[in-house]
């Protein structure tokens, strides 16, 4: 059901917790299932130097948020804004079709944080 990448992210939870040096922050919630994601980004000279997340919810939402914190590092703001669902899913080595809302919520929060 879940790839080994997703399982490892949910187990390790890299970059978990808030980021005191964050310059950008946003949060989002799926009102139906209650998934919550909060992203903290530290942006310097137009590039993301650090990113952390907090989340409550299902493995798909947690893994998506954790993956984004790894994917956006050293990226320009425009590169982050251009990040697609398919790129995130490729990084995660897929999600079950009924769990895609987790990835969509994470990307929505990222865009909200940067715009």
């Amino acid at each position: 059901m879940y790839s080994s990448v997703v399982k490892k992210l949910v187990h390790d939870l890299p970059n978990r917790g808030s980021l005191k040096t964050a310059t950008h922050r946003a949060e989002g919630e799926n009102p139906v299932c209650g998934d919550q994601i909060e992203l903290f980004l530290q942006v310097e000279e137009g590039r993301v130097v650090d990113c952390h997340f907090q989340a409550n919810g299902c493995p798909a939402a947690i893994a998506s948020a954790a993956a984004l914190t790894l994917m956006v590092k050293d990226k320009s703001l425009q590169e982050c804004l251009d990040m697609t669902e398919s790129a995130l899913l490729e990084y995660l080595e897929g999600l079950p079709s009924h769990k895609l809302h987790g990835a969509q919520l994470a990307l929505e929060v990222l865009r909200r944080a940067l715009t």
């Binding site: 879940y2 949910v10 187990h11 939870l13 917790g17 299932c33 907090q54 299902c58 493995p59 769990k99």
Partner: protein, 386 residues
């Protein structure tokens, strides 16, 4: 990576002795048990030996055992079979809100066909109240179906207290004992039910085979029509390899039950106490109640059960959760909800179910791994610092 299987209420590993017994009936004893020739009669002999082994586990007569395609089919046959056979007497049934879907969906199907069903509540302890059952009995009640022990919490229902109240009124009592058989002694001469569902794969037998115990004289309308198999109560060529494996699993369970209960309850308590001592914000659902010896259902506050399940799976530990997210909506455990648990506790519930194969080293491995995972998840939670 280590591999620790603690989801034995979902299914169990088939015992090698069961596989060996089954192989004989895939091989040289492959005949159709209804055939008159010697091939068929060898299969018939295996089938009837298995019937004796299943009956013996619950101190029943072999003639009171009907083989089915599993526990779900046994539940369907019991409930629909009695309801349809007794509908001229009345069309009211009673069950509880914590039954397995095999019972609940069958009752709902009967409701659509004009029957009336009363669903009994449970207390916060996870047990049905015999007093509430007695008050719900009516002149037109024809069947009561209450499980022996709940599959999620392991809480044992007071069937021995309830069944006599029901049967003395001429009402039939069905017990879904799929999770209880082979884990507790259920002799039907002292365990006063009319029908009892059994599933082989819950105690090291094969999947796709089970049985319905039907006390002599209980009216039952067959639900599978066709040939005259199983004394016309369940048409269809018998799955002889699975049935002989089922019989072997019953014999092994009978031989091992005392040792199983003693050993596994020690390990379950070691796991439960270890978690309670090492992790704050946890509760054992159904604690203090009479429970199956191999099950514990624990809620971790502030944690999503499915996420915890996946993190444990990464460490090679298999468990199950009472709340899973599907298509953007949460489907919480109907059992924990019926117990009145707040949503935050339901969402963080994990069921650990042990087997005779579970070792102390495996339990200690879980206790070694679990606290760190829970701590990381709580550090991640939005509410932790927002």
């Amino acid at each position: 990576m280590r591999s620790v299987y603690l989801d034995n209420n979902a299914t169990t590993q088939v015992d090698p002795a069961v596989v060996e017994r089954m192989n004989d009936y895939f091989g040289e004893n492959f005949g159709n048990a209804s055939s008159v020739h010697s091939f068929g009669q060898r299969a018939r002999a295996g089938l009837e030996e298995a019937r004796r082994q299943v009956a013996s586990l619950i101190d029943a007569s072999p003639a009171e055992i009907i083989f089915t395609g599993g526990g779900t089919e046994a539940d369907n046959l019991a409930i629909k079979g009695v309801a349809l056979a007794r509908q001229e007497k009345g069309k009211h049934l009673i069950t509880s809100r914590i039954e397995h879907p095999a019972v609940l969906r069958t009752c709902e199907s009967l409701e659509r066909d004009g029957f009336e069903v009363t669903y009994l509540d449970v207390g916060s302890d996870g047990a049905v109240d015999p007093g509430q059952l007695e008050q719900s009995l009516r002149d037109d009640t024809i069947l009561v179906s209450i499980m022996f022990a709940n599959n999620e919490t392991g809480v044992i229902q007071p069937v021995e207290e309830m069944a006599p109240l029901v049967r003395e009124r001429g009402i039939y009592f069905h017990c879904d004992a799929v999770q209880g058989v082979a884990k507790a002694s259920l002799p039907v001469d002292r365990f006063p039910v009319d029908l009892l569902s059994i599933s082989a794969h819950k105690f090291h037998g094969p999947k796709g085979v089970g049985a319905l115990y039907v006390r002599k004289g209980t009216p039952l309308q067959p639900q599978m029509l066709g040939g005259s198999h199983e004394r016309r109560m369940r048409a269809g060529t018998e799955n002889v390899p699975a049935i002989v494996g089922f019989g072997q699993a019953c014999q092994l369970a009978a031989e091992r039950m005392e040792d199983f209960v003693r050993r596994v309850s020690i390990l379950r308590d070691r796991l439960e106490n270890g978690i309670l001592n090492a992790i704050e914000g946890v509760r054992v659902n159904g604690a203090g109640q009479r429970r199956l010896p191999h099950v514990t259902n624990i809620s971790f506050e502030g944690i999503e059960g499915e996420a915890l399940l996946v993190a444990l799976d990464f460490q090679g530990i298999a468990v199950s959760t009472g709340a899973a997210c599907a298509s953007g909506s949460i489907s919480p455990s109907h059992v924990l909800a019926a117990m009145g648990l707040p949503d935050r506790w339901i969402r963080g519930s994990i069921r650990f179910s042990l087997s005779r194969l579970t070792t102390e080293e495996e339990i200690d491995y879980v206790l070694d791994v679990l606290p760190g995972i829970v701590q990381r998840m709580r550090e991640m939670a939005v509410s932790s610092s927002s």
